[in-house]
């Protein structure tokens, strides 16, 4: 696209940007959360959500109301909005949307393969799949036995196909291999998405690249954290790190060598962005977990994305914020339904 896309942005994407900003205004406010936390039962949660933009999305649910019903309906609502955006989008925004769905597709594929491994019925797992990552061939995933099988038979026609170049192998799909596959797919997905945004240039690159860099680094940290005490070798670990983040290349090399959380923290200390995050992490007894800290940082970045105009980042940011909001509601609803109110306040506030 030409320099100064501001001039032309609204011709193609102005309507959708307006729409997404309107949707963003409908996110729950601090006051809403305060009210939700006070609820005694799930019915109360429902009544309160009715006064927000969720409206009577639970009106046709039969009793008793459960957390998973709320979750499903919220996801459906997000999915409807997303589908609307997607159906009304023009290139290159529609490619951008496709990239956005890819992460959900990867999760769904992995979920299904894990299910197949544990011999669970497909129907049961399908219900757990994220609706944003749905595609026709999805259910056929379990016929594949090796990654290359999976690629050749099932995924070659889906947008996931390009990400498979690094993970073609004839290994049978056991639990570890599936996890490796997920991370490799994610790595090439993130790198491809990063490249797409970078090439697109303009404000989109300025907004999306930091968000994706953060996403990549977060994955690197989380992979490191989860690999402690597993049979994953350090070399293998390094191949899983997405290389489009701020940590690349030095930080990733150091991370690959890390053996416990403190070493990881020392790596993060070299980076001004991540140092405060690790400092905010509480020790084992209480306080925030690393994941929560990352979520908070993500929310912050996504909210800031709305401060600029004429870019695609708002769509990404909106979807992520909405997801966070859904996680919050589910968290609160879980706390209420399990009568476990002590931790009810540890949702991630959306500023």
């Amino acid at each position: 696209m030409l320099e100064g896309a501001e001039f032309y942005f609204n011709v193609d994407h102005g309507y959708l940007e307006g729409l997404v900003r309107g949707c963003k205004a409908s996110l729950l406010t601090q006051q809403d959360y305060l009210n939700l936390v006070q609820c005694e039962t799930l019915e109360d949660v429902k009544i309160h959500l009715q006064t927000t933009d969720y409206g009577n999305f639970l009106a046709n649910q039969t009793n008793p109301l459960t957390v998973s019903k709320i979750d499903t309906e919220m996801r459906k609502k997000l999915c409807r909005e997303f589908e609307y955006f997607r159906n009304h989008s023009l290139e290159p925004l529609s490619t951008f949307f496709t990239y956005m769905t890819c992460s959900y597709m990867i999760d769904n594929v992995i979920l299904l393969m894990n299910g197949a491994l544990q011999k669970k019925p497909v129907k049961e797992i399908l219900a757990k799949c994220h609706p944003l990552g749905r595609f026709t061939e999805m259910e056929a995933v379990n016929i594949a036995e090796t990654p290359s099988d999976l690629f050749k038979a099932v995924l070659v026609e889906t947008p996931l196909a390009p990400f498979f170049q690094d993970c073609m192998s004839e290994n049978t799909l056991d639990e570890l291999n599936i996890e490796l596959l997920r991370n490799k797919l994610y790595k090439s997905y993130l790198e491809a998405f990063y490249k797409f945004c970078k090439n697109h240039g303009d404000v989109t690159a300025e907004i999306m690249c930091p968000i994706l860099e953060f996403e990549a680094d977060r994955r690197a940290f989380i992979i490191t954290l989860n690999s402690f005490g597993t049979e994953l070798s350090k070399d293998d670990r390094e191949t899983l790190y997405p290389t489009c983040g701020k940590l690349y290349p030095e930080g990733l090399r150091l991370l690959a060598q890390a053996e416990d959380f403190d070493q990881m923290r020392r790596v993060a200390d070299h980076y001004g962005v991540y140092k405060p995050l690790f400092e905010a992490v509480g020790d084992g007894s209480g306080g925030k977990t690393l994941e929560d800290v990352f979520y908070e940082r993500e929310v912050q970045m996504n909210v800031l994305a709305f401060n600029r105009q004429f870019h695609y980042g708002v769509f990404y940011a909106y979807t992520k914020l909405k997801e966070q909001e859904m996680r919050n509601i589910v968290w609160i609803a879980e706390c209420i339904s399990q009568r476990h109110r002590t931790k009810i306040n540890s949702y991630i506030p959306i500023l």
Binding site: I47, N60, K152
Partner: protein, 787 residues
């Protein structure tokens, strides 16, 4: 009409409702629709209120109603509107209604479920027979080598181990949209080990869920090997295919086919029986549902109001607050007594003092509603402010008509509106849903008056479809002019344009009795004559209209007891407005009366006089209109200036006690505010007066446009053929075009534009003289349906 002058007196009232009778009382109040309740529990969130359980039960019930309604709609039936007056049911009836609804819903669900499963079975059977009857030839079984090569060249029958393997079949049906993807996936996943043939069904099958007819793709897959078979089964599962057992032998298949047809016949019979039963249940729903829906909606509304009440200290009664017109208080008292008599303790309502500004209540009828609507669209009046609507009833159609003056067009509009007014009680007209039509219909009385006034101004302008009419004999005599100046035939032949001189005796006999003399329509200076007339008329109407607005302000000041504003605001305003523009109007009228045809050549120019007045200068060529005019001018200007100065300075001083009561008094802000107000009014007077010139401009535009339409369309047609036959044939389409354009351009388009300008003149030029429009409407709690 008296209540139209300003909003009714509205009081804040407090209700003490005994707990036992609270529900009945509120439901009665809802039937009356006179009170607007205030939320006394604004700080309590929705789910912590007192009657939230009842509201939830109502909602639960409404959910079931939605289900029933959806079922009725799906069956292609309509719910009849409920008949008679349905009161909110007593709370104990809720249980009964709930039980009956649940029973009905359960019954309906069962029957519907039965029907669904029967339909699904039938669909399955039909699909099966379609698959079998499709006649897929069996390429592998019949000729394993020949048939294949075309479909799947990759498969080279090796003649080796594969020959011994048994060929198996999978047959089924899939939705056509998915067929291509299925075929590709099959090919990719099990290439070489299967042959698939796809074919579309010939007849369409009814979808068991939606009931819509749809075609299906049937397929027959033949494959080698058990593993491949499992894969294929998984893939077909994933595409939600219907898979059926496939018998290889032709005879076996035919037998199954017959069996299937037999089964589906039986099934259809059962299905018919079920559907009959279903329609019975639906009939019951149709009968019972509409009254229930109304009742439960009322019940929920009552509980929502009760949720806004606070509980008294002794828990014996609920306390509600609300706005209500003072004149309705006795009615309220009576109703409350009546509805709480059963409970033993009677409900009480009494006024309480309040500092908040009460809402505005102006009762309208179907005639005044549209005019009130015009005013409310600008802003609902402050409490008890003078309401401009009663004057709008006359001034709005009049100002519109000044811009739309044409007898013919006005008559058409009048007749259209009259037709709507006469038909207003017909149900078909009332029920019309078209939005544009509803807009016109709700403004029918407005249109009626607009049409009527346009006929009147049309007569004044003497225009009917742009043609002048000669009702009275013209006041000008050409014959007199001809004899007096001795025009010869030769003179007449040479001069196409002749001048009628009113100064010559006998030529101008006297003014035309009503409106513009028709002789002007023949004159070449028609336009300059009309322009001068319409411009002055606009100024006169405008100044009158604005002065009227300023005078209306007096009633506001008197009513609110702000006497200082009367002398320090209205008086200077009047002096300024009348001193400058009232004087202008006076000059115009004086000149009309005093200057005769004889002295026309030396008539003084008002324009120069007026400009000189501001510049404090004189021009020797421009004679005064009347002796002593120069002195008067200076005096008026001095008075106006003095009034502006005095008003600007005194206003703030007087403003101190008035404003000091509530808000913190900041002198600089009040000074600034008043200075701005003063400047705004002074500048506004000039620009508003100029704004009234739009009356002239639009009426000119309208006259010219209809003139052009006549000249370019109708006159062309009339000139076309002299013979009777030609004229008749030509005139039909020409007249059609003329009529169509008249309606589309002159009536609709010009009408809308004149409407818009009349609207602006009222909202801006008229109402800003006295109307604040900063109030809010009383929206009573009522069960009545909105129109």
């Amino acid at each position: 009409m008296g209540s139209m002058f300003r909003g009714e007196e509205v009081a804040l009232v407090q209700f003490f409702l005994p707990t036992a009778a609270a529900y009945t009382c509120v439901s009665q109040l809802g039937e009356l629709g006179l009170t607007e309740f205030r939320d006394l529990n604004a700080s309590v969130s929705a789910f912590q209120r007192r009657f939230v359980g009842d509201v939830r039960r109502c909602e639960e019930l409404e959910k079931t109603f939605t289900f029933l309604q959806e079922e009725v709609r799906r069956a292609g039936l309509v719910l009849p509107p409920p008949e008679g007056r349905l009161l909110a049911p007593p709370p104990r009836d809720l249980l009964r209604i709930q039980e009956e609804t649940d029973r009905l819903a359960q019954e309906l669900r069962d029957v519907r479920g039965n029907q669904q499963s029967l339909r699904a079975q039938l669909h399955q059977l039909q699909l099966h027979s379609a698959v079998l009857g499709q006649g897929h030839h069996l390429p592998l079984a019949a000729a394993p080598t020949d048939g294949l090569l075309e479909r799947s060249p990759l498969l080279q029958p090796p003649g080796g181990p594969h020959r011994d393997l048994r060929v198996n079949f999978v047959a089924g049906a899939v939705k056509p949209t998915k067929a291509a993807a299925l075929e590709r996936l099959l090919w990719r996943a099990c290439r070489g080990f299967l042959v698939a043939s796809f074919r579309e069904t010939e007849q369409q099958l009814e979808d068991p869920v939606t009931g819509e007819p749809a075609t299906w793709m049937t397929f027959l897959i033949s494959y080698w090997g058990e593993q491949i078979g499992q894969k294929i089964r998984k893939i077909t599962d994933c595409f939600h295919c219907h898979v059926f057992p496939f018998v290889e032998q032709e005879e076996g298949r035919l037998g199954t086919l017959q069996q299937l047809q037999q089964q589906s016949l039986e099934l259809q019979e059962v299905l018919g029986e079920t559907e009959r039963f279903l329609s019975q249940v639906l009939g019951r729903v149709q009968q019972l549902l509409p009254p229930w829906q109304v009742q439960i909606r009322k019940m929920k509304a009552v509980y929502l109001v009760l949720n806004q009440c606070s509980v008294s200290a002794t828990h014996k009664c609920l306390i509600a607050e609300g706005w209500c017109a003072s004149s309705d208080l006795p009615t309220l008292q009576q109703v409350l007594q009546g509805s709480s008599s059963e409970a033993g303790v009677s409900a009480v309502v009494h006024r309480i003092p309040c500092r908040d500004m009460p809402p505005t209540l102006i009762r309208t009828n179907r005639f005044t509603a549209s005019f009130q609507g015009i005013v409310d669209a600008y802003g609902v009046g402050r409490y008890q402010e003078v309401n401009p609507a009663p004057y709008t009833i006359i001034t709005f159609p009049f100002l519109f008509a000044v811009m739309f003056g044409d007898v013919g067009h006005g008559l058409l509009m009048f007749l259209f509106a009259l037709a709507m007014v006469l038909a207003e009680n017909r149900p078909a007209v009332k029920a019309a849903q078209n939005e544009i039509w509803r807009t016109f219909f709700s403004g029918r009385y407005l249109l009626l008056l607009m049409g009527l006034f346009s006929v009147y101004t049309g007569f004044i302008y003497n225009e009917c479809f742009s043609r002048a009419t000669t009702i009275f004999p013209s006041g000008w005599s050409v014959a007199a002019m001809a004899t007096q100046s001795g025009w010869s035939d030769a003179f007449l032949a040479e001069h196409p344009l002749l001048t009628l001189d009113p100064a010559v005796g006998g030529v101008f006999l006297g003014p035309y009795p009503f409106g513009i003399d028709p002789v002007w329509s023949l004159a070449v200076n028609h336009l300059s004559f009309l322009n001068s007339f319409k411009m002055k008329m606009s100024i006169i109407l405008g100044v009158t209209h604005m002065t009227f607005g300023v005078v209306l302000g007096v009633f506001n000041h008197v009513h609110f007891g702000q006497w200082h504003r009367l002398f320090l605001e209205t008086l200077p305003e009047l002096i300024f407005l009348l001193g400058l523009f009232g004087y202008l109007v006076f000059l115009v009228i004086y000149k009309w009366l005093s200057v005769s045809a004889a002295g026309a050549a030396a008539a003084p120019s008002i324009l120069i006089h007026f400009i000189n007045m501001f510049l404090f200068s004189r021009s020797p060529t421009n004679q005064p209109l009347f002796p002593g005019q120069e002195d008067d001018k200076a005096g008026i200007l001095d008075a106006s200036d003095a009034s502006v100065a005095g008003w600007g300075s005194d206003e703030e001083k007087a403003g101190c006690p008035g404003n000091g009561e509530e808000a913190e008094f900041v002198l600089s802000e009040v000074l600034m505010h008043q200075a701005i107000h003063t400047i705004e009014f002074c500048l506004g007077c000039i620009s508003n007066t100029a704004s009234y010139l739009r009356l002239w401009a639009l009426s000119l535009a309208h006259a010219q446009l209809s003139e052009v339409l006549w000249a370019m369309v109708m006159r062309v047609g009339l000139r076309m053929g002299r013979e009777l036959g030609v004229a008749a044939v030509v005139l039909v389409p020409i007249f059609a075009a003329f009529a169509g354009l008249t309606v589309a351009i002159l009536l609709v388009m010009e009408g809308l534009s004149a409407f818009l300008h009349a609207l602006r003149l009222h909202w801006v030029e008229f109402q800003n003289k006295f109307y604040l429009g900063s109030g809010y409407k009383l929206s009573p709690f009522t069960f009545a349906e909105e129109d």
